[in-house]
């Protein structure tokens, strides 16, 4: 029993990462969740559940300071907030346009330097539901099954979104190349 329990526990170097992540990203996660849920308690709940998911998949994070870690944290928080919103929709007084939120670009920051790089517009125009899956797959190196688990989707849905995202990206890139 004790041996089985010990076998379940991660190695010491794999433990204790969460505290560093928490200090660095908790406020950002709260803001991300609040933007979707417009409610403090719900936003805190979403952040907590997002932390549970992040910790369960923390082996994929080699460096907590890298941009990949930040994008991972944002994606998980946003998806958790959207899921929570759907669950609690019935008692929500303010209608939040979730469908619009999902189809909007993932990155919404405006920067003159980035505006100048034309192919960034292509990524920016990609709907969030495609870009989040692509980032987790290509940048964070998650498998389709892991992404499905993390985002609460079926594996088939993840593969479909990956496929469609790639197709759109290729199409846009071809157009961009012709220009």
């Amino acid at each position: 029993m004790v041996l089985a329990l010990i076998a379940l526990v991660d190695l010491p170097e794999e433990r204790g990462k969460a505290e560093g992540l928490y200090k660095k990203y908790n406020d950002l996660m709260y803001t991300t969740a609040y933007k979707i849920l417009k409610n403090r308690e719900d936003a805190e709940d979403a952040v907590f559940h997002a932390w549970e998911k992040i910790i369960c998949h923390m082996d994929k994070l080699s460096d907590i300071d890298c941009p990949a870690a930040k994008s991972f944290v944002i994606i998980v928080t946003e998806r958790t907030a959207i899921d929570l919103y759907r669950k609690r929709r019935r008692r929500r007084e303010v209608e939040v346009p979730i469908a619009e939120c999902e189809s909007s670009p993932y990155f919404i920051t405006k920067d003159q330097r980035l505006e100048e790089v034309e192919f960034f517009d292509i990524f920016r125009s990609l709907a969030k539901k495609y870009s989040e899956v692509m980032i987790l797959y290509y940048i964070n190196q998650f498998t389709a099954r892991e992404i499905a688990e993390l985002l609460g989707l079926s594996e088939a849905a993840v593969l479909q979104r990956l496929h469609r995202g790639r197709r759109r990206l290729r199409r846009e890139m071809e157009t961009y190349g012709r220009k």
């Binding site: 329990l5 379940l8 526990v9 991660d10 190695l11 794999e14 433990r15 204790g16 990462k17 969460a18 505290e19 928490y22 660095k24 990203y25 908790n26 406020d27 950002l28 709260y30 803001t31 609040y34 403090r40 308690e41 805190e44 952040v47 907590f48 932390w51 549970e52 910790i55 369960c56 998949h57 923390m58 082996d59 941009p67 990949a68 930040k70 994008s71 944002i74 990155f107 920051t109 920067d111 330097r113 980035l114 790089v117 192919f119 960034f120 990524f123 692509m134 980032i135 290509y138 940048i139 790639r166 990206l169 290729r170 890139m173 071809e174």
Partner: protein
């Protein structure tokens, strides 16, 4: 467009975009997280600290530890209470349950029963012919089914006599918990003499009645109670 190319471009773009998003959001800095959130996060971090990614194992161990601590605390409190105050809650609960034990006596109506020669003696008196010295009759109640008599002495001891007429399919429940139980004979009828703390009683059935005599706060009650009982059959 190759997979590697997609990955490369996505990486460049994502890194640039992430630089624009501050990790420590200033707007959230003004938000004070609720005690509930902080409590939950503390639990989560504890689990992560000791169990890594297996936080649910951590939760499980934490819950199991809480259950074990609660059980140990109850056992400790019970033991302390028993040793210091002389009150053992668990034993009290168990005893309370045991006290519910009752002896059930089921009867046939007198006309349905086959009697032996010994069964022929019948009660001849309403009151016992013998009552221990110093006891004064306090209660004398009777109805269609039986009688109830009670005597007291000056030192607080008491004796009561309860008699019920046996009827068809009658059942009588009596205390099934006692320190001592002996089989005795009252006017040829088999009966029981029971002792429980400072209480003792004799109970028996004859042709017509169920009898019970209780004594409280008395010494050497067996002889006195049997003598009182026998006196009911004296002419």
């Amino acid at each position: 467009m190759e997979e590697n190319e997609i990955k490369e471009l996505l990486q460049i773009y994502m890194e640039e975009e992430m630089k624009r998003i501050p990790s420590m959001d200033t707007a959230a800095g003004q938000h004070e997280f609720s005690p509930r959130f902080r409590r939950r996060i503390r639990k989560l971090m504890w689990s992560e600290k000791y169990f890594g990614r297996k936080i649910y194992t951590g939760y499980l161990v934490r819950r199991a530890a809480v259950v074990i601590i609660v059980i140990l605390s109850i056992l400790t409190v019970t033991e302390v209470s028993a040793r210091i105050f002389g009150f053992h809650p668990w034993k009290y609960i168990a005893d309370f349950d045991e006290e519910a034990k009752m002896d059930q006596r089921d009867y046939l109506a007198p006309e349905e029963k086959v009697y032996s020669a010994n069964d022929l003696r019948k009660v001849t008196r309403e009151f016992p012919g013998y009552v221990p010295q110093g006891f004064v009759l306090g209660k004398d109640e009777a109805d269609n089914y039986g009688i109830f008599l009670e005597w007291h002495d000056a030192e607080g001891a008491s004796i009561s006599y309860h008699r019920l007429e046996i009827s068809s399919s009658m059942s009588i429940l009596t205390d099934g918990e006692y320190d001592q139980k002996e089989t005795i004979s009252i006017a040829g009828y088999e009966g029981d003499y029971c002792v429980k703390g400072k209480q003792s009683w004799v109970q028996w059935d004859d042709v017509t009645y169920f009898h019970r005599m209780d004594a409280a706060n008395m010494e050497s009650t067996a002889e006195e109670l049997i003598r009182m009982a026998e006196s009911l059959y004296e002419k």
